[in-house]
């Protein structure tokens, strides 16, 4: 018995899948071959996410060390490369506490619900030509839908911990997450419009010119919004250690804490991979199409570095500043981008509904000007009016109390 994929099938184009399917199909029934080929892909992707998370914990600590003029972890293995393994062993052998009065089921579900959507998000990512677990035609929507499960998990963590700080952290996190969802989703509309598809594979192929050059404004909004969605500095009020200990994961310890941290750092990697696919051209690169995975990794690495750089550079914002940044700055910018791209596509498209490379280049130049003007205008609108007049200390007389100096 042997299984063959029809050559017009979507799965036929996927080299890894086809080879596994046909080899296994020689000995086993076709539906088993189908499941095994899927499991091979799942194995690759799960390992990529978890090893990526480990690599990013190491890279982030090393780079933050360099940014702050110190060395960072350098004891275990060459350049401290085994540090993530040491961390995992330590956290696995630590006592795993669940505080009194916490909700047992919800509390235990949280680590799973943080990691699983993250791994699921990678299902539609093409990490080489035609190589994704499933090249869905609604890829962008799938990613947006799956990624919003995380906000539920964060709120569950805060609610079930029986800890006020965790509750505050969760409330802040949800406020930030719902506010930045809108600009992120709106900024992706421009990408979808130019590529005329929501499938990530088609979006990569449409990038004759990478979309961060064609739509710099969308790229800016997406990066800023995603930093907030990941609860990273400068938007990390949800786990501001100087105010509310660790926010929603205050009460987590042992392996549950390890899973939550893995979700946080893995999230950086997955979001960087999505950004690389949507804006940097994903697997496309010079030389050979078999080197696609290498270009993909390099581009992902650049975005990860950018996220770490942001974290090292910007101080934490206050919650009202974060809200104003989203609703009064990023949202109008995303709208400006949407309107500009709509008009450009409408005016530049050919009769057959195709945008050539020249059209994309024109869009890029126009959009760069739009970006500069829009950021200047809306940046001026939300600028905080600070008066630098020095205040004189005043003597205030309170009945019954001696004079208090108020500054």
């Amino acid at each position: 018995m042997s299984c063959q994929l029809a050559s017009d099938s979507i799965l036929y184009a996927n080299g890894i899948y086809r080879v596994v399917y046909e080899i296994v199909g020689v000995v086993l029934p076709c539906w088993v071959a189908y499941a095994i080929a899927g499991l091979v892909f799942a194995f690759i992707l799960v390992n990529a996410v978890l090893l990526g998370a480990a690599a990013i914990t190491w890279g982030e600590r090393r780079l933050l060390g360099r940014f702050q003029n110190r060395v960072g972890p350098n004891r275990w293995g060459p350049f401290g490369l085994f540090q993530p393994i040491a961390d995992l062993v330590k956290l696995l052998t630590k006592e795993d506490l669940r505080p009194d009065g916490s909700d047992r089921v919800v509390f235990s579900l949280v680590p799973v619900l943080m990691v699983a959507p993250l791994i699921l998000m990678t299902a539609v990512l093409p990490f080489a030509k035609n190589t994704a677990l499933a090249s869905l035609n609604v890829g962008v929507l799938y990613i947006l839908a799956v990624s919003s499960i995380t906000s539920v998990a964060i709120f569950m963590a805060g609610w079930s911990s029986n800890n006020r700080y965790a509750m505050f952290g969760a409330a802040r996190a949800v406020a930030v997450l719902i506010s930045y969802e809108i600009p992120v989703v709106l900024s992706l509309l421009g990408v979808v419009m130019v590529a005329a598809s929501m499938s990530l594979g088609t979006i990569v192929e449409a990038q004759a010119l990478p979309f961060f050059l064609v739509q710099p404004l969308a790229f800016f909004v997406f990066m800023a919004g995603m930093s907030a969605e990941l609860n990273r500095s400068p938007f990390d009020v949800a786990e501001a250690e100087s105010e509310i200990i660790a926010g929603y994961h205050t009460e987590y310890s042992g392996v549950r804490f390890a899973l939550i941290q893995a979700a946080e750092f893995g999230g950086v990697g997955v979001v960087a991979a999505i950004t690389a696919t949507l804006f940097l051209g994903g697997w496309s690169g010079p030389w050979s199409e078999y080197l696609g995975w290498l270009w993909f990794l390099i581009k992902t690495g650049i975005i990860v570095f950018l996220f770490i750089w942001f974290r090292a550079t910007y101080p934490r914002l206050r919650i009202d500043q974060i809200m104003a940044f989203s609703w009064k700055f990023l949202l109008p910018l995303a709208m400006v981008n949407l309107i500009a791209v709509t008009l450009e596509v409408f005016l530049l498209r050919g009769d057959d509904g195709v945008l050539t490379v020249t059209d994309l280049a024109i869009m890029g130049v126009v959009n760069l000007a739009v970006t500069v003007i829009a950021i200047a205008v809306f940046g001026n609108l939300i600028k905080e009016r600070v008066s630098f007049r020095t205040r004189q200390p005043q003597n205030v007389v309170v009945p019954g109390v001696s004079t208090i100096e108020v500054i």
């Binding site: 979507i10 799942a42 709509t342 945008l355």
Partner: protein, 128 residues
């Protein structure tokens, strides 16, 4: 082709099983380690207190407090629904007529007026 389409969702279903199994298995491994006495597990009442910088928590975390951002939440729902309508339109926009552009301009325009009104009424300020 249609069968092919559902096959992809089948693959995602398999992947979802794996994605949920991996973190669950780590939790199970941790439980097993505590059973094998490799990992300590001896909770005391003091250890199990909610963390509050060393003092006793007064009252639970579930008393009423002002979440403050319910106005943002309402705006979020409105804009999210808008975006759901915009996505299919954006996917096919490259081959649509002028009518589609005007129609969506009206739709987005009404929302933008509402958004400007919310800004004007200071509903976008934190804590109002």
């Amino acid at each position: 082709m249609l069968e092919d389409y559902f096959r992809q969702y089948g693959l995602i279903a398999i992947f979802a099983l794996v994605a949920f199994a991996v973190p669950t298995s780590l939790l199970a491994a941790s439980w097993l380690l505590s059973r094998l006495k490799i990992r300590p597990q001896n909770p005391t009442p003091v250890k199990l207190e909610p963390y509050e910088c060393g003092v006793q928590t007064i009252g639970g975390p579930w008393n009423q407090f002002n979440f403050r951002y319910y106005l943002y939440a309402i705006l979020f729902v409105i804009f999210d629904v808008e975006v759901v309508f915009l996505y299919p339109w954006a996917t096919r926009f490259i081959s649509l007529e002028l009518f589609a552009l005007i129609e969506m301009a009206v739709f987005v325009g009404i929302l933008l007026i509402g958004w400007a009104y919310a800004w004007r009424k200071r509903d976008l300020e934190w804590g109002n």
